[in-house]
Point group: C3
Chain length 319, copies 3
């Protein structure tokens, strides 16, 4: 089957998911991001790569933090950015999603950054663009339902490579609510594609997908066993709506078994790094002593995230 | 009476309505828009004509689509754009409309794009600017109550001229809820001003203004009779609030009599074009087979709309 | 105690309050603003001083007017501006204020413009930036609770200096709800720091802070007595929530005793100027005949406010 993310030359046409993305494309994105981390430290944090391009932030689900990171990335590349919060817009007037997209295409959009509560919405848009012959417009998935959040996965890979240099000798644990996390899926695909030999998932049975082993990971229900000698701990955010559900006893109980404390972290390698996609629930999935401690690389993740988004946008715009 | 849209030299000072706008000014706007359609296809879609100018989008009534088209047009001309959603702003603090305007003038605004639920609000603002001697500030009406939506009328004229080259041999039908449509009024004025010899309006008696014939149009209640041999079909959007009202039996009934189907469209000339201001109610005023068919020029209307708004802004800024 | 607004060289690091701000720094801000008032009258109202800088408007409390003035000021200095309305954002996801700030720092912010309902929030942010060693990021207080609104105070001083040239011979009256006004506190500190020999506050006992005399002002409960021979009348806005409270009989009653009318204004010097921070409650604290009359400099205040905000931003960015 044709990979809808790649054009006929095998170049990145859209960024929809890390699943199925070739290793050399992932590596090219990470390599492209490196100089962009330096741009952010310059006096004038501005490059002309997207000058005159129109980037539409299409947020069908509100997320100020994610929207902000894409807005900054696009503006640092000199793009014109239009923020559209579509929940309060035309769709309430009875217009379909694809009519909205057709209209924005007719306004000569160059890029859509799409956040949607429904898994697959960015795919639908990408397919439609292909069907109407608008290969000049690119889609970036900024989170779709439970499915994927590929720029988060990429910035996580950037962070690991930054601190650990190489993926091929690492043991990495992903901890928490794997079942409902679009971040976790993107991470696991990225880690296995980049050659991490040992990927572990740690969580209660109720928060792990059925047959998760088929993704090529080792499953642990006991966090202490799972953290033994890992190089990287990737914590997940526990969604608020899960905390009241039947799947979990209480936030306090969750913290006891699956919250990352200094105590549990001691089981990892001495130079282990701790990651979190944010926003953190302190005292639920992570203890403040860890979040603010020397192993945490949570804020560098945010910084690298801007550079990675700039890289994705500039690669797409070049095709 | 002095035309408040023109300055003493007879140049465009504000764009408030197409009614009373001289033919040569309409033509000049359409001519100016032509090269702007090419800008949108360039690699760098940016011109410096409004560089350093402050354009305020004053939306007293929310309309993401219209706001977006003006925002894109202004940004492609390099203006600084400030979006103000005034419903949630100072007017709730008891400040009057004109106090708000005075304040924005004092911030050295150059242009106000005004959307308001009350007919006449943009006039009131334009009169006030004249009264306080701020001829350097220009107003564009982006839709006021049931009154006017002149940039929509202008982009419609641009579209007709693009496909039909000349207005003087055309038969044009405007179909649907003429009574409540600010778009229809702008269209009819523009068509007659530009010399279209035969303008028809088609709709049920309950949705036509009293004495509509005085605008210089022929009235049809039977859509099939009205569409006979027309060159251009301009569909109107049926507002949701009408669908539940006493004026109409049901959306299905409306579609039966006044919805544009392939069947009815066959009565028009073979090269007829179909227009719609959007967003469309598919299956109410227009069938999807028509909306997505070869006669429809609904998406080119959107593209031309950006160019026409750039033309209006650049003409105003030059005076 | 170290003044958190100044860096080790005694230069402005943050603008949090006028209280404790040295006179030479206030004067330097006013002096820097002078040429910026001319920028606003140029054809191209744009300077490159903040090019490539990221200015975040962090509005934890909505205020379209104040946000707009900072947005315009930043854009005229060529900054990239990101508007964040935080009430609807991450803090609802359980993230703390300082986690939000940490994240924005990691996105390489250069400046935070902070509006918050809690007094002291901008201080908390400034202290945190110092604690994490981010002296490259600057905070501007755009209004915190009842505490301070320093750019308002500065633009008021700019306005007085513009019309009266010198502070040292003036009598200035601040009138209305001193108790709940963050504007009044900023004004009084600025006036006394700049050497105004006679600062008066006029209001009912219920709307004056206890021991207000200790700020170095003369207290008047009778407005006519207080206005006698003043050079400057600074009216305050009566907050809507006060009008229904127990502190005041009714808006009509307030107007009778403390509303500025032409009649009362005649007691001031013939060349007195009348100021108001806006938005005005016409007929409550000020009569329209005064607001729109020849003594009012209320709209010039707005114009100077943009220049003063540009001055503050450019001074901070230079350190």
């Amino acid at each position: 089957m044709h990979n809808p993310q790649l054009n006929r030359n095998g170049e990145l046409q859209h960024l929809l998911t890390i699943e199925g993305l070739p290793r050399d494309i992932i590596t090219a994105i990470l390599d492209t991001a490196v100089p962009f981390t330096e741009v952010a430290e310059r006096e004038v944090k501005k490059l002309p790569l997207l000058r005159g391009k129109s980037v539409f932030n299409l947020f069908f689900e509100s997320s100020t933090r994610t929207r902000t990171t894409f807005e900054i990335a696009a503006k640092r590349l000199s793009a014109d950015v239009i923020n559209l919060n579509i929940t309060t817009s035309s769709t309430t007037k009875g217009e379909t999603l694809l009519d909205t997209i057709d209209n924005l295409c007719a306004m000569q959009a160059d890029m859509f950054v799409v956040r949607h509560a429904s898994s697959g919405a960015p795919y639908l848009i990408a397919q439609h663009l292909s069907a109407i012959g608008r290969d000049d417009i690119h889609v970036i998935n900024a989170g779709d339902g439970r499915h994927a959040h590929p720029t988060q996965g990429l910035l996580d890979m950037y962070t690991i490579r930054h601190y650990k240099k190489d993926f091929t000798g690492l043991t990495v644990a992903v901890v928490g609510d794997i079942l409902h996390s679009r971040v976790a899926r993107s991470q696991i695909h990225a880690l296995t594609t980049l050659g991490v030999p040992e990927v572990r998932v740690i969580g209660p049975k109720t928060l792990l997908p059925a047959e998760v082993e088929k993704l090529g990971v080792h499953v642990f229900h006991d966090m202490r066993a799972g953290l033994k000698d890992v190089d990287v701990v990737m914590m997940l955010r526990l969604q608020n709506e899960r905390m009241q559900g039947a799947l979990l006893p209480s936030p306090q109980e969750f913290f006891k078994y699956y919250g990352l404390t200094l105590d549990k972290l001691e089981l990892a390698k001495p130079d282990a790094i701790v990651m979190h996609p944010g926003p953190m629930n302190r005292g639920v999935e992570i203890d403040s002593a860890v979040a603010d401690g020397p192993h945490a690389v949570i804020l560098p993740q945010v910084t690298f995230g801007i550079a990675v988004r700039m890289a994705v946008m500039s690669i797409l715009a070049a095709h």
